[in-house]
């Protein structure tokens, strides 16, 4: 007769149903949703492309720079890219509103562009990617970081070497 008390409880307490299609649905804070990419903090190490199990992430070198594409229709939301990203440039949002019509199938893409820049030190053309700052002691100050960022990879190495000898 357990079910009778269950019926009574359900009748008294009312339905548990979420009001979802008519009101926004509750989403967990750590929900693993749509991928978001930030080209400013990206180091262009392409680790995410390497670890992506579904091959959803692709970097292509074009005449404008390095293009990042993550196809949401292939992404399995595993979070490997976020885990392996050294700078947190790629992360998962809590956005799960991904249903789309067939016409939008190939435009359901997170796109980012890391443009080319001219190195102020040597004048060469290089990617405007964030420098790898892990393991540099003492930590860079804000001006130093800005200076380092503007350089090309070769000049960055020189910069860091010079800084190490200085300290």
């Amino acid at each position: 007769m357990n079910f009778l008390s269950l019926f009574a409880r359900n009748l008294i307490e009312g339905p548990y149903t979420d009001p979802f299609p008519f009101k926004p649905a509750p989403t967990a804070k750590r929900f693993r949703g749509k991928i978001a990419f930030d080209p400013v903090t990206c180091e262009a190490c392409r680790q995410c492309e390497r670890v992506c199990p579904a091959g959803a992430i692709r970097f292509t070198r074009t005449k404008d720079g390095l293009e990042f594409d993550c196809w949401h229709d292939s992404c399995v939301f595993c979070g490997n890219c976020e885990f392996h990203c050294p700078t947190g440039a790629i992360h998962q949002t809590v956005d799960w509103h991904l249903a789309h019509g067939q016409a939008d199938k190939f435009s359901a893409v997170e796109h980012g562009l890391i443009p080319f820049k001219v190195c102020p030190s040597c004048g060469g053309k290089a990617l405007d990617s964030a420098p790898a700052t892990a393991g540099i002691t003492p930590a860079l100050s804000a001006e130093e970081a800005g200076e380092l960022r503007a350089l090309c990879p070769k000049c960055r190495a020189k910069f860091i070497k010079a800084r190490r000898t200085r300290t």
Binding site: F7, N10, Y16
Partner: protein, 319 residues
């Protein structure tokens, strides 16, 4: 002429036809709604069965390649027509008395079996193995519940008939008149075995959960209805909605007709019908699991048959 007009109105407008259809669909909607509430869900709106019917009318009808087309498409029509007649045969206490020319309780009993036969024909003509399974299950179940209901009706007929100095009477109008004069059978201990047997019969006839074995959706994918699409499926939905009204109001007429008349009698009848739907159908179907066909067969040959036989004996001894 006026008699024929009266019969036509009874069959197509009230209490049969449009009225019974609307009532049956609303009862189905209520059933789904209350079931959802008992499960802690919101549930579909009350008008959902109407939406379903309209939707089905817009769909294309497909006939399986190996099906017998005339039988396949004719079966639901026969079912709906039989149920239209059946609704006109059941009197509403103090509101509607069927014309005796339409038939009596025996005719009603025969017509009540037509939906089951129609489902059997539909299942066997659809050339689908699931339909065939549904056919065999429907037949087994029908054989099982047929005997108890006949005995129950016999007990009621004897109770009323003997009081009037005959052996038995099969006129529902007389049965209702007797109950209005001498108190309803629901409160008459002599009739309780018959009542219990009827309570076990009607879930099987309506095909709700402990006995929905022929149309079990999770086992045989709705069995005989598997191959039906669009309007033909809609006709089956109409048939089952009408059948719910017929069987429930037959139960009311046999055991608990109200001693009221006019508008109050009608409203009271609606209330009884709704209560019976909620407690007799919704609560039952939610609180039980489905029986296997052999279990159901054994069950019906044991308890309802025993109860129905006991009811005939007690009625014979008591009067």
């Amino acid at each position: 002429m006026s008699m024929q007009l009266g019969i036509l109105i009874a069959v197509f407008l009230f209490p049969g036809g449009l009225f019974a259809l609307a009532l049956g669909l609303i009862l189905k909607g209520l059933d789904r709604r209350v079931a959802a509430r008992l499960q802690g869900r919101i549930g579909p709106p009350l008008r959902q069965p109407f939406y379903d019917l309209i939707k089905l009318a817009f769909k294309r009808t497909m006939v399986p390649t190996f099906a017998n087309q005339p039988v396949f498409l004719g079966a639901p029509l026969v079912g709906v027509v039989s149920m239209l007649l059946a609704v006109a045969l059941v009197p509403l206490s103090g509101v509607y008395d069927p014309n005796p020319i339409l038939g009596n309780l025996i005719v009603l009993l025969y017509i009540l079996m037509i939906p089951a036969v129609v489902l059997m024909i539909a299942g066997s003509s659809s050339a689908s193995p699931y339909g065939a399974i549904g056919f065999s299950r429907e037949m087994t179940l029908m054989l099982a519940y047929e005997a108890p209901i006949v005995l129950v009706v016999l007990a009621v007929a004897m109770r009323v008939g003997m009081a009037q100095g005959e052996v038995m009477t099969f006129s529902l109008t007389e049965i209702i008149a007797y109950q209005r004069a001498n108190g309803i059978f629901l409160l008459d201990p002599v009739m309780w075995p018959a009542l219990a047997a009827f309570a076990l019969f009607f879930p099987a006839n309506l095909g709700i959960i402990p006995f929905d074995i022929p149309e079990a959706e999770t086992e045989v994918l709705e069995g005989p209805l598997l191959e039906y699409t669009g309007p033909a499926l809609g006709l089956f939905k109409v048939m089952s909605a009408l059948k719910a009204v017929v069987v429930l109001s037959l139960g009311i007429a046999l055991f608990a007709p109200l001693n009221l008349g006019g508008v109050w009698g009608f409203l009271g009848w609606l209330l009884e019908l709704t209560l019976l739907m909620e407690f007799g159908v919704t609560a039952v179907r939610l609180s039980m699991g489905r029986m296997r066909i052999d279990q159901a067969f054994a069950f019906f040959l044991k308890w309802p048959l025993l109860l129905a036989t006991a009811s005939v004996v007690t009625v014979a001894l008591a009067t």
